[in-house]
């Protein structure tokens, strides 16, 4: 086949270059590179981004043939064989584009953002390790290799959340992310075991070929267990609690890992397992319900948060919920479309918030911001584009994707889901523009000292913002036009082969829903405008009027407290019981008791040892005598 030779080289380099960058930077960064640590990692990531685009372009040129390459054997134990195998198909192509391009831009941005940080070399080393793991995750052609990347990105997430490990809250947040993800990964692992037991392989093609032969009960369990992993990684309810805390990490990390790439891994994995999920309708229903609930739940929390990054974090959880809602409702391509667009605009929003924080000298509380529009214009305009893309106003990226999802909810007959989606879209518009208005409009609420230092970020930070703003604005119309039958649908057709596509109806249900959802989003913007610019006393009064609703949202629906009480306290209590009862009483008791037994016995036997040689001689003679008597008696009879 034409070009596979080049593809092999490209894929190998995509995986190996970031790994090399990680190893070299980690080993030599501290002593040799120091403030120049970024050069090698950034250069390597730039090359991988180019190669990713090449791989994507290859897929475009070969729409019907997926690139499969089993590089070498990884595990070979009897019937269980796993290869370092790579797969590049349209789904991978889109992920490559997201990871490669956003990864590269975030690397460039980090040069400015992390300047003069004592851990500069460490940061870039970890970022490169992350890129390696993420590429392994999306390029893998079997579940185990995917899992390797999956755990690798989890590790990097942990390392980068607790990057400023001297800060107690940062190291705690890192631990929390790691532990919560363990719960999901446990499910994923069990899912893989079940897949191997039922199909005898972990290779995607092998598993999917047998998908129809798996019993429906087993298949349901496989899907649910895989989905558990996705719930952990993609921060869905109830395992979402780690993502808001993950904002303790540096902002580029939040943009790259906790918005644009790693958290999408769960969505990607479910989409990848499409042939399994389409057979299990119950599993898809559960995916949809969890996604829908998460979407509205975290959007509701986002409207009262004051930390600029927390708002975007909850927005990310909400968006991921949207993606699962789409997958569950059978709008597979629309879900991936949303992932594609979301990667760009949410990455953009995070990088913008980083620029704002940078300008404010580390301040993250929006109550201390305001009036930044004139002072940091590039950040303002790019963030505005990101926000509009997020709330889904025509013709920005979010609009096309979000609208397709809501449209297919409606046409699929899931009216409740659709209604929840519309409410979520409204809340999204409110909190997104609350963020914009509180940050960039009105009078500055910062202290004099901070105000004097407000400045636009360096070019190395603003250029990535502009470069991300372009796809955030235009991507939707480029790949999503016309709705439901756009380029991305044709492109993803080989992956989601069974999905029926209906022609979009402009005049009628489709067009009507579209106008309606845009109207809802604009209404949200208007509400935010009234509450945060025109009548700024209104939010406080509203909170006072509805204390329960406000407190619930402000305190993140008390989820952290629930975790505190149910799993954490009970675990601590159980561990305490193990310590005071099982360890002290049972284990120590057994060991000490045994020692005491021998001590008592020794005490009793001690007088036998008189130390006088004649006493011992007497025992020898007496023993001898007994022997003689016994033997004489035996032989005599």
């Amino acid at each position: 086949m034409e070009g596979t030779q080049y593809m092999k080289i490209a894929v190998a380099l995509i995986v190996l270059l970031p790994l090399a960058g990680f190893i070299i930077t980690l080993l030599l960064g501290k002593r040799l590179f120091r403030a120049r640590s970024h050069i090698l990692p950034v250069a390597l990531v730039t090359v991988t981004a180019v190669l990713s685009v090449y791989a994507f372009e290859w897929v475009v040129r070969h729409p019907d043939t997926a690139f499969v390459w089993n590089a070498f054997s990884w595990v070979a134990a009897g019937r269980f064989t796993v290869e370092w195998g790579f797969l590049v198909d349209p789904l991978t192509g889109i992920m490559l584009l997201v990871v490669g391009i956003i990864g590269m831009l975030v690397h460039y941005y980090s040069i400015g953002y992390m300047k003069d940080d004592p851990g500069y070399y460490r940061f870039f080393a970890y970022l490169n390790l992350f890129m390696f793991a993420m590429f392994v995750l999306i390029l893998a052609n079997n579940y185990l290799l995917l899992f390797l990347g999956w755990e690798g990105v989890g590790l990097c997430s942990y390392l980068l959340i607790s990057f400023w490990f001297r800060k107690k809250s940062a190291s705690q947040a890192g631990k929390k992310a790691f532990l919560v993800n363990r719960v999901g990964d446990f499910g994923f692992t069990l899912g893989m075991f079940l897949i191997f037991v039922t199909t005898g392989t972990l290779q995607f093609t092998g598993v999917f070929d047998k998908a129809e032969m798996i019993g429906s009960g087993t298949l349901l369990w496989i899907c649910l267990l895989l989905f558990t992993g996705a719930v952990g990684k993609s921060a869905q309810f109830p395992l979402h609690v780690w993502l808001p805390d993950a904002m303790e990490g540096p902002t580029p990390v939040s943009a790259l890992i906790h918005a644009a790439t790693m958290v999408n891994a769960g969505v990607y994995m479910v989409a990848r397992s499409y042939p399994l999920f389409v057979q299990a309708h119950t599993a898809m229903l559960i995916v949809m319900i969890i996604g829908t609930f998460t979407a509205i739940y975290s959007a509701y929390i986002a409207i009262t948060q004051n930390d600029i990054k927390k708002v975007i974090a909850y927005s990310t959880i909400s968006s991921l919920g949207f993606m699962f809602m789409a997958l569950g409702a059978g709008a597979w391509a629309a879900g991936i479309f949303y992932l594609f667009a979301h990667g760009f605009f949410k990455g953009l929003l995070f990088l913008c918030s980083g620029s704002v924080i940078h300008a404010m000298g580390g301040e993250q509380d929006m109550r201390n911001m305001g009036g930044l529009r004139k002072k940091i214009p590039i950040t303002f305009w790019t963030m505005l584009i990101g926000a509009i893309a997020l709330i889904g106003v025509f013709p920005f990226a979010g609009f096309w994707a979000k609208d397709e999802i809501l449209g297919s909810d409606f046409s699929g007959g899931y009216y409740v889901v659709w209604a929840v989606g519309i409410v979520t879209a409204f809340l999204t518009a409110v909190f997104a523009f609350r963020l914009i208005f509180m940050t960039f409009f009105g009078k500055s609420r910062a202290s004099e000292e901070v105000q004097r230092h407000i400045h636009e970020s360096a070019k190395v930070m603003t250029i990535p913002l502009v470069l991300l703003a372009i796809p955030a604005a235009l991507l939707g119309i480029l790949v999503g036009w016309p709705p439901d039958t756009g380029w991305i649908h044709t492109f993803l057709q080989p992956v989601f082969f069974d999905v029926e596509r209906e022609k979009f109806v402009w005049v009628g249900v489709g067009g009507g829903l579209m106008v309606f959802s845009v109207a809802v989003a604009l209404l949200g913007v208007y509400v935010a405008y009234v509450m945060y610019i025109r009548r700024t006393e209104l939010p406080g009064r509203l909170a006072a009027r509805l204390p329960v609703a406000y407190e619930a949202s402000f305190n993140k629906m008390y989820m952290d407290q629930v975790y505190e009480v149910v799993p954490i306290r009970s675990t601590i209590a159980f561990a305490g019981w193990l310590w005071t009862f099982f360890d002290v009483k049972v284990i120590d008791g057994a060991v000490n008791g045994l020692a005491r037994l021998w001590e008592l016995l020794g005490e009793r036997l001690r007088p036998l040892q008189t130390g006088r040689v004649q006493n011992y001689a007497f025992s020898i003679f007496a023993g001898m005598l007994v022997l003689v008597v016994v033997l004489a008696w035996v032989w005599g009879s």
């Binding site: 001690r606 040892q609 004649q614």
Partner: protein, 102 residues
């Protein structure tokens, strides 16, 4: 009763006297002497059996020669230990040798 039994009775008597002495006497030198008595009792028994029983082929005589040699060596070493011990603790009473009391 033939003569062998008289010889054996003598050997048993000597052995028991020796054993009794080893167990009850407190003086180490006497204990060593009693040990010699026991060895010689065995010698008498061996020589007697070797003499009276045709099937023994003189093996008992041979054994007794070994035992005499061994006894000579044993007495040398034993008395040397007794003297060395006496120099250290100025006593030859066995009931005062009780350092290994538990």
């Amino acid at each position: 009763m033939n003569a062998l039994y008289w010889w054996l009775t003598l050997a048993v008597l000597l052995f028991c006297i020796g054993a009794f002495g080893v167990l009850v006497r407190r003086n180490v030198i006497v204990v060593v002497m009693c040990l010699e008595l026991m060895l010689n009792a065995v010698n008498i028994a061996l020589v007697a059996i070797s003499n009276f029983r045709a099937g023994a082929l003189g093996a008992g005589t041979l054994f007794s020669l070994f035992i005499i040699t061994l006894a000579a060596a044993e007495v040398t070493v034993g008395l040397a230990i007794v003297i060395a011990n006496y120099r250290n603790r100025r006593t030859v009473q066995t009931d005062q040798y009780d350092e290994l009391k538990g």
